[in-house]
Symmetry: C2
Subunit: 341 residues, 2 copies
């Protein structure tokens, strides 16, 4: 097995070094054929490395970066004023071929803008998209776009479909992933003009296993491997999922704490709650891919835990190992050729 | 307390009479000042009434309708070919002033089209919307539009805001409901043009307590009383909620049934699960209002239970009692006047 190198923005996210460095320690102990470039401000980074017991680790390199992109920095600030940010330097590592993927828990808008500026999009990709795995009753599916684009044209939805298909093919080993379009009904006549036109494009594409329309509840029913949607709709749907899951978790806790008898009974039922948690765990599903770029970039949730950031590193490692950008380029070749013709 | 009369499409929904008539029995026993007109095919309806022990009930009237709108009937069929459907006749009752509200579990598209055709929209309302209560950590909020419209213009979102505000004011007694716009970020610069323009309209409206943007997870955080969105986005979000809740329910059951020990422990924790259910119960939140019409029409989930259909009847009863259409007309008066000026 060849060695994969990941460039990690060690400063990004709500918890910065306190989460990123311990997560790197976890991943290095799990995965032998992995090298990590930790990018960040030298002094605090050195402290965090010592604290995590990683001093002198053979598979860690430190790459200094003097600035950091704050969670509320605008895209313009991140792009134009912070050219030596840990986020930007991590992405530069990918551009220069020194790493095969970059991972950051920094703000999404900035990460997408900087990645796009530094790495550029693949031929045939008008707009990169954000894609992540979503739990379903039978495993998981991948959904895109989750917020990189608002007001996508039907041609963009076709590109998302091709990119999502190539990704699922590579990371899940699904030969002919079922690709569905997110809509407000399953009948052909439902939806807006954009969706109806996109459905025609997907139906006519020779290399897409088009599964038709899917509704919001169908995402979780295991009906599709790839769910395609506009970034506005996808982002609202993703955040809705997060909101419902969080509310339910709080309600379970509240209900379990209403009396000592309930506390005791909930304690006895802990294996049930743990089983549920392991299947719905936001940590396990952390790590969204920025697809359509000439390099692998993975975005971690800003508020994630050590375990969650480790999941994002795993996503990046797998995509780098399978060389997902090259597969996406191949998947989009027919679109590029037909556009040239 | 004055008597409210509801016209009930007894044939609509996946389970038709088996659900609607027992739900009417439940509601009549709960609520004294209520009269029900049961609309449907005379023979099966009479059987269902007998079965529910409602023969000769003083507060039930039967209104015959020879046809029924099937769940998969197109809008065109419902509107043009089934003029004596139980759905249409129930709405006619409202139009004729014989009932103050109509309730149906029939298909949404048909119900909206027939309601709009028969009742007409209120002055200032370009497009009626679908609105329902959504559970939050601190109670509930109301969200609209949930699928009556795709591609809403900013002016339509303003109308939805005014309608939602009037509804919440009437049914929840909230004096100045906080009205938020569903978006993919909370900062002013986020979102598409439609949302940014709508934000300007809501901010400038003198009689709206505008609370800014809200994200998908914010719906459940109790940050707003009224959540306004385009019907496409709202429908995807609503169905996403339903899908996540259903998946979690299935996962809890699966996890609880993995071993006899788990079964036992889950049984002991039943009060916790029951507490959770009572707060998230889809039955309790059944009943979506078609707002913007010259009359109250409530749509029940097609696959609902007796308890769920009773909730939809409750929603209709309350809106009829508070005369929500008149309140919405008043709320929209400034918009109508400014359009005339």
């Amino acid at each position: 097995m060849s060695v994969v190198t990941l460039a990690v923005d060690a400063m990004g996210g709500d918890h910065g070094l306190a989460v990123t460095v311990p997560a790197v320690a976890t991943m290095l102990s799990r995965q032998e054929h992995l090298h990590i470039i930790l990018v960040g401000q030298p002094e605090p980074l050195a402290d965090a490395i010592t604290k995590a017991g990683l001093d002198g680790h053979a598979r860690i390199t430190v790459q200094p970066a003097s600035e950091l992109v704050a969670m509320d920095d605008s895209v313009a600030v991140a792009l134009r004023q912070k050219k030596d940010s840990s986020m930007r330097v991590a992405i530069n590592m990918v551009k220069e071929g020194r790493a095969q993927a970059a991972v950051s828990a920094g703000n999404t808008g900035a990460l997408m803008a900087v990645s796009r500026f530094v790495l550029k999009t693949l031929p045939g990709v008008d707009r990169p998209a954000i894609c992540t795995a979503i739990p379903t009753v039978s495993g998981h599916c991948h959904m895109l776009d989750l917020g990189a684009n608002v007001d996508s044209e039907p041609e963009h939805l076709l590109q998302f479909a091709l990119m999502g298909q190539a990704l699922v093919n590579a990371v899940d080993g699904v030969r002919h992933p079922r690709v569905a379009l997110l809509n407000i009904g399953e009948e052909d006549i439902k939806g807006n003009e954009q969706i109806k036109e996109a459905a025609g494009l997907l139906r006519d594409a020779p290399n897409i296993n088009y599964a038709g329309f899917i509704e919001g509840d169908g995402i979780f029913a295991g009906e599709a491997d790839v769910v395609v949607c506009d970034g506005f709709v996808g982002n609202v749907s993703l955040k809705t999922m997060e909101g419902v899951a969080k509310m339910l978790k709080n309600m379970i806790r509240e209900e379990a704490e209403r009396s000592w008898l309930r506390k005791l009974s909930a304690l006895l039922a802990l294996p049930v709650f743990r089983g549920l948690k392991s299947r719905m765990d936001p940590d396990r599903y952390n790590g969204a891919s920025l697809v359509g770029l000439r390099g692998v970039v993975v975005k971690s949730h800003g508020g994630t835990t050590v375990e969650g950031f480790a999941s994002a590193l795993e996503v990046a490692e797998l995509e780098a190992r399978r060389n997902v950008p090259a597969l996406i380029r191949d998947a989009l070749a027919p679109v590029v050729n037909s556009a040239d013709a």
